[in-house]
């Protein structure tokens, strides 16, 4: 049971975590807003699986990378706002670097000409 879950979410999880952290680096935001912003910025290339967004938020919070507080939304509704913690900022930097190394490597690999 446990194994299955891990396999299913391993890749997604890392990516989604990075996107959430990056989005929150721009400022505190509620869950819906995070999903919207990821889609806007990626010009709808990345569609957030909303179902896995909230468990991810909880996980990040449990790890202490983000914090949450209740506040009022733009239309004056009660909403839970997430913000990046100091620990999260450090984590974002580390993850970003890792991601860039990884994507550069993949990029090089894909550009390589057979010969």
């Amino acid at each position: 049971m446990k194994n299955g879950e891990l396999e299913k979410s391993d890749l997604l999880q890392g990516t989604l975590d990075l996107l959430v952290l990056k989005t929150l680096a721009l400022g505190p935001m509620h869950g819906y807003g995070i999903a919207q912003r990821i889609e806007q910025i990626s010009e709808a290339v990345l569609q957030v699986n909303q179902g896995s967004l909230y468990p991810a938020l909880l996980r990040l919070e449990q790890r202490g990378w983000i914090a949450s507080a209740w506040g009022a939304s733009d239309n004056n509704r009660r909403a839970k706002f997430y913000s990046l913690t100091r620990l999260g900022r450090r984590q974002l930097a580390a993850e970003t670097e890792k991601w860039e190394r990884l994507s550069a490597a993949i990029g090089r690999l894909l550009r390589a000409v057979p010969g």
């Binding site: 819906y32 909303q50 179902g51 909230y54 909880l58 996980r59 449990q62 790890r63 202490g64 009660r78």
Partner: protein, 926 residues
Amino acid sequence: MNWHRSWAARTRGLLRRGKREREMNEEVGFHLEMQAREFERRGMSAKEALQAARRRFGGVEQVKEEYRRQGSVPWLESFGKDLGFGLRMLRKSPLVTAVALVSLALGLGASGAIFNVLDSLLFAKLPVPHPDQLVVLKIRRPEEPQPRVFYPAFRMWQGDSGVFSGVIAFSRSSSMLVRSLGAASTPRPASTGDELGEWVDGVLVSGSYFPVLGVHALLGRTLTADDDRVAGGHPVAMISHAYWQRRFAGDPAVLGRTLEVNGQLFAVVGVTPPGFFGAEVGEAPALFVPTAMQTQVHYVGNSDIEDGADATKPWTEQPHIGWLVAMARLRPGVSARQAAAAATVTYHQFAAANVDPKHPEILKKVPAVRIQVEPGAQGVSRLRDRDVALPLVTLMGAAVLLLLIACANTANLLLARASARRKEIAVRLSQGAGRARLVRQLLTESLLLAVIAGACGLLLARWGSGLLLRIASGRATGWPIDLSLGWHKLAFLTVACLATALLFGLAPALQATRLDLVSALKVAAGSTHGGGPRTRLPLGKLLVIAEVGLSLVLLVGAGLFVRTLQNLGGVDPGFQRSDLLLVRIHTQLMRLDPPRLHEMERRIQERMAALPGVRSASLSLHSPVSGSQHASGVEVPGYTPRPGEDMSVSEISVTPGYFKTLGIPFRDGRDFASRDSADAPHVTIVNEAMARKYFRGRDAVGQRFGYDTEKPREFEIVGVVRDARFYDLREAAPPMMFMPAAQSGESLRDVELRTARGMAASLVPQARQALREVEPTLAIGSVGTMEQQLERSLTQDRAVARLTAFFGAVALLLASIGLYGVISYGVARRRSEIGLRLALGAARGQVLGLVLRETLQLATVGVALGLLGALAATRLAASQLYGLTATDPLTVGAAIVVMAAVASLAGYMPARRAAEVDPLTALRSD
């Protein structure tokens, strides 16, 4: 990484589950609303938009579940879920739950209460520093009674400083009449019933007592070695915390106050701490006075007075009066064996120096004497005597039996319920739930049941142990032993609870989850009882057989004890028990010389006999069944004792008219008369047992014999009276002799009044009043009828009989529930078979017989096994029975008949239901 942080958060999440759940719902709701609004903006209708938002979000419930799972500790949460589920299941079948809970709580509570008392009595250590260093020193003589310790011997052991870091000696006294002088501020308690003072228990203690035990004074100082040097020279006392509170309202000014104790003035120097009751467990002394004051407080109780002693001189100077309990503190590293060797050598030196040269035969025996060193961490206690502890052990056995029956019964009920849930379990198994997970859930339910029952049991145990103590002690206050629930008592209850849960829960859980899925699922939805009869019935039947068997053991035991009580209540004590009033007086405190004492006793007798409603009156050293016994050795001319033969004869000093008042008939000779005065030749009246043993075949009247080692005298027998049970209703009278008080010179302590029919109890005030008129300064003790005294002597037997009878009744009820359940189940399962039989022409009576026969088969096997168990178990209780043997056919037969009757009744109801089966419906339902 960060696992601790995330676990802390999860645990917090678990604790705040309600809040988390609300917030999660709100957050998801907000998300859906925003998304729907967005879709609406793009032109959807409100309804479409909301549906689209939900689709976009994915499975809302799955997400929530995932969110929940992550936010908490999975197994703890599933345990919580199991608990909730278990509670719902318990609520769903309230009758089953109630029967299980009540029976388990009774079993747990009863065994808990008894364990509590036993534990406090047998295992609790004295509340002093390093109790494990304490030992008890006992004198062991081969083939002779073991005397209490002589004061000079105790002094010599104090010199054994190589093995002992300290030695103490003490002796309890139950008759100390205390008057507080110059204490106008504190009102006298109303309960004493006597203007002359209050009777309290006290202890005479050596000066080393408090320092060696390591007990410090709560107030003032403790007694020390300097308070115990010169006989009669240390009028100082400590009082107990309880007495200080009760009598002096906790007033610190009690220090330096003067108390009159049995006529001697004592200065209070200190108060003992609250939890300290002395080294004798089960006693609650109010006073501690130095052993040096023995003569001054008229201590005479519990002593072994040997040849060459003079009991009128201070006992601290007497090498031949054993009256003390000796305890010591071992030096670290010294073994009990080393200490015993050293103490024995010292004792031999002591004996060699002290034995009267006139008795060389005693000196010859000295080398065989050994000093025994026994563990003393728990102090000493007469409550640990076999006859006090044994009834408690018996009751413990009965309570454990009851608990086992309750377990078997609960297991059966759970089994029945589990089989009703076969389909549910099969569905869950087929959906991939692990068997272990299901067993865990079923066990959680059992545990829940056991814990609730245990909590009820705990309350019952707390309440019951106090009650038990009062019953067992026969006193309103019980024994002052510490009954607080310490950790090992709670541990006992916890372990009992868990063991019970496993015992009744595991088998049904394993059985219920061992399913053939296909057949279980195939069963028609309407049927509550799924197939696989072979998997369910044997265990259920086995449990019922066990229940019947165990119940029979309890029934037989209860029957034996109830009949013992009946026999004891109906035993002819040899005197007329009704219409007899007893008054305890304390003439010894008046310090009269023998002629004036005798004169006062004569006046009391005359005045009492003249009371209206009184037929005759007498005085004696003690009345029958009062718990007192005085005995000494006799020398009878022409009677050669076997080696080591017990030549002791119990003696009582009485006034003329004693036998008439008690209703003991003369077999031969005459009563004492006024001519048997102090200067007349010594005369005695003996009982038949004495006449039989020492004057077999001869006419006892007119015979002479020598008696008393203290003041050897020759007695002439002037009368023989019928045997009467003076000491123990269970035992035939020992050889006894009576002597005229005028000749023995003893202070008499009991007044007996033979009253007109039914007047004994109503004459109490008149008797008191008359005594006061005769002698205003005479201290009066307890007043009561002989019937009350006899009742009191049967307190323990009554407690055992009542409690085992109660346990037996509960066991019977549980066994019948078990039988009923199993038979009903069988009938329901075989409905179609029964219907078929009926359709094929079987008579209804035949069906009834079929089911009844099955019931009785089960009961018979149970009874047979139970009989074997009863034979083994009741043998252990044989010594507590009276007037019947442990295999008494009548009792065993009655138990079997009762069991069979109850079994038939339990089987009859389902049998009738079987006989009333309508063949058509029964056949159609399959």
